[in-house]
Point group: C2
């Protein structure tokens, strides 16, 4: 059986490796339109900042590594059409521009997502960048190394925007963030987003909210000023467009593969599209929110890996299921880790729950132990049965630990009453005697009906 | 109603505070035979090492703090007998030696545990110490400051022994550990304990296994040599007895309060003893292992706090339940954090399970992110249904995070299949793209029947 995988970053390479492990008799081919495969897009902001000293480090595996396992990788090959009836693809070699028609038995779409770039005047000026793939990184490095920018504007206050704000600060580039929304981090509840907002201001990041990019002004082909919708003119020698991403679904839709409600490719729990034999995984497809049961599009690297694993097993005649997501995410900006799992209080209300919540500050070590760090935890539960619906954590210290405990609690459908007697690991270097999440769950339990 | 609490360290003070919060109309009295209340015994090794620069820091609250809430604390008062029929106690003022008879309506026993000290020749020599309470700390400090020991022997390779080994190393005291068992850390599986064993050797700790304390030799009233059961003579100017603790149950048994199978005080899930109106909490009482359903004695500070909270609420006419423990524990020795939750593979076998396990090494950050740390995770599941039974983690880095994810998974009765698609928080500074526990769960799932 010939299995073709379109896209070779996270989901595609994971699916290939898994399919190969399940059954070595299949022919497995990856087509990737970039020059590299198997890289960590999430690592790119840390290459920009210099925390990761060499951009090549975020490339995990080379085509040769896959070749050793018998997986054929064609880089700089773009699949331009799918004929699902005849089960063949048209593939363009981007170096030679030659087209080839290739038969497949089964297909995995792992075409990913791309940055949304508004079609405004000046958008093609030099110095206007996105950060999504290795080519973007190369462009970034060129700008940073040859032009030594002093003044940057980031359009969009999402994860990438805030990670880059820290990176620019480390590079002593004065930075302004322009965000269309009335506040940053709309997935977070306002009081939690506010903690991040204040931290950005403390770190000399200028925040302009409720405003967007209107046009870009340049000189000699190079960006010099951004003009916002409200008419603000901001000098900039570097502009990053980070207003979000959109799934690469054009190839799928042209091939007659159905999309879901979110606008990403629809899949069942086996990661199979509505066209039998064609699977999808990663940022190009949607999934299910395990709390609301509704479709959700969650383009994150770890989810792409999980889904790739499931698609890879099933494409090779396996029968495993991807159960969906809780929307767990974390990012770092300056000294803060910022994390969420499940529903925010606001999202819980919008989904028809009657949520009750608690916000409290805790520390990651016993109060008398040196170098302890603080964080703020918000815990949200259903007022009726006390089941946890979500958590948000902002601070320094073990934010990642707190959010993963909460994410595991959501997975176990645990209630406040369950969590207030959780048996978590205590020793002064690692935790206060009662973990903040235990204390918070106890207080939250008392707020239930 | 007069509520008397016997013991004022962890469970006792927590119970008092909780009972007071539930109903301010009760009279609440704590009798504590030490000079201090409300201190963290778990912090003491870090005072010895100097990581915590002042021993007073581990004392959390003073009697005056309780007085402000209307809770009466009598330090240096020892309850010497309980008359459960007449509902009164005899209390000795240790300063005046005066005895007093005091009535109670309800009682909480929070008498804790004490180090086991073998009755061998020379045990009372100067320089032979235990580390359990503030008085022990004072003795330790006297020995360390005035006698500047160069050579220590620790009897017992449990948590306290290994924490102290690190402390002594920091104080440049050459240290030998003598352990009766054939290996250290018997609650851990051999291959995991071995990692700690090797780390101790790398840090110049001498380990003598399968041997015990026979007698202590001294000169001018001061210890100079320990003689082991096998006849080894080891020079030492400091000897720490750390072979374990035993519950303080003598007061309870003399008062006709029943013990459980473990030898600690028997309680129901409301933390009430078999004598109605008399509760117990903390190291003096037993609890239930939530995996085996069997009684277990788990004298740990966090459990004492959880139980104190439950006993405090119920003594004040509440009705909450303590569900038992998974035996989650963590400690630090040198650069390693060492953690366990649930059953070891060996304990699972002994409890009649058919366990299957996986041991793997992981990192706490993306592989290209600087300063990542490694750890080894062992995950154990039931071969029949894949339900997780336990985890052990040894290493540097986020050991505490891994064990708390596992402990929460046990609480949720999660299986390998659940955990292999857990939605944990990923970003390069906080985790590899798929958390080690996710990868381990996936591999373990494939080992099931």
């Amino acid at each position: 059986m010939r299995i073709i995988i379109i896209g070779g970053v996270a989901a595609g390479t994971k699916a290939a490796a898994k399919a190969h492990r399940v059954d070595q008799n299949h022919e497995i081919i990856i087509y990737q339109d970039e020059a590299e495969v198997s890289y960590s897009a999430c690592g790119l902001p840390y290459v920009i900042s210099g925390v990761i000293d060499d951009g090549r480090k975020v490339v995990i595996r080379q085509p040769e590594d896959f070749a050793k396992e018998g997986i054929k990788v064609f880089t700089q090959h773009r699949v331009t059409s799918i004929d699902k009836t005849r089960r063949h693809l048209t593939v363009k070699n981007l170096l030679t521009q030659a087209d080839e028609v290739v038969d497949y038995d089964r297909l995995i779409l792992a075409t990913g997502a791309r940055p949304i770039v508004p079609n405004v005047e000046g958008i093609t000026l030099e110095g206007v960048l996105t950060l999504r793939n290795i080519r973007d990184l190369a462009r970034f490095n060129t700008q940073l190394n040859t032009l030594q920018p002093k003044r940057a504007v980031i359009i969009g206050a999402g994860y990438i925007g805030l990670e880059l704000a820290e990176a620019f600060h480390q590079l002593t580039i004065k930075t302004t963030i322009v965000e269309k929304g009335a506040r940053i981090l709309p997935r977070f509840d306002p009081e939690m987003a506010q903690l991040v907002h204040e931290h950005l201001l403390e770190n000399q990041i200028e925040l302009i909210l409720g405003d967007g990019l209107a046009k870009l002004h340049g000189k000699n082909g190079r960006v010099t000023v951004i003009e916002t919708k409200s008419g603000k003119m901001i000098s900039a020698d570097l502009v990053v467009i980070a207003i979000g991403v959109t799934p690469n679904i054009e190839l799928a839709t042209a091939g007659g593969i159905e999309l879901g409600k979110t606008g990403a490719i629809a899949v069942d729990s086996r990661m199979e599209t509505r066209t039998p034999g064609i699977f999808a995984a990663g940022d190009c497809c949607e999934t299910v929110n395990r709390i609301t049961g509704k479709p959700i599009w969650m383009p994150l690297g770890d989810i792409a890996n999980l889904q790739g694993r499931v698609a890879g097993e099933n494409v090779a005649d396996g029968n495993v299921h991807f159960p969906g997501v809780f929307g767990t995410a974390i990012f770092k900006t300056f000294k803060l880790a910022v994390a969420i799992t499940g529903l925010s209080e606001q999202a819980a209300q919008e989904s028809g729950f009657d949520p009750v919540s608690i916000v409290m500050t805790g520390t990651d070590r016993a109060r008398y132990y040196p170098d302890r760090q603080e964080y703020t935890l918000k815990l949200i539960a259903d007022r009726q049965d006390g089941r946890l619906l979500g958590a948000q954590v902002v601070g320094s210290g073990n934010v990642d630990k707190m959010i993963d405990i909460a994410a595991t609690a959501l997975l176990g459908k645990l209630t406040c009453a369950d969590m207030e007697n959780a048996d978590l690991a205590y020793s002064p270097p690692f935790s206060p005697v009662l973990s903040t999440i235990i204390v918070a769950a106890g207080i939250l339990k008392n707020k239930l009906v």
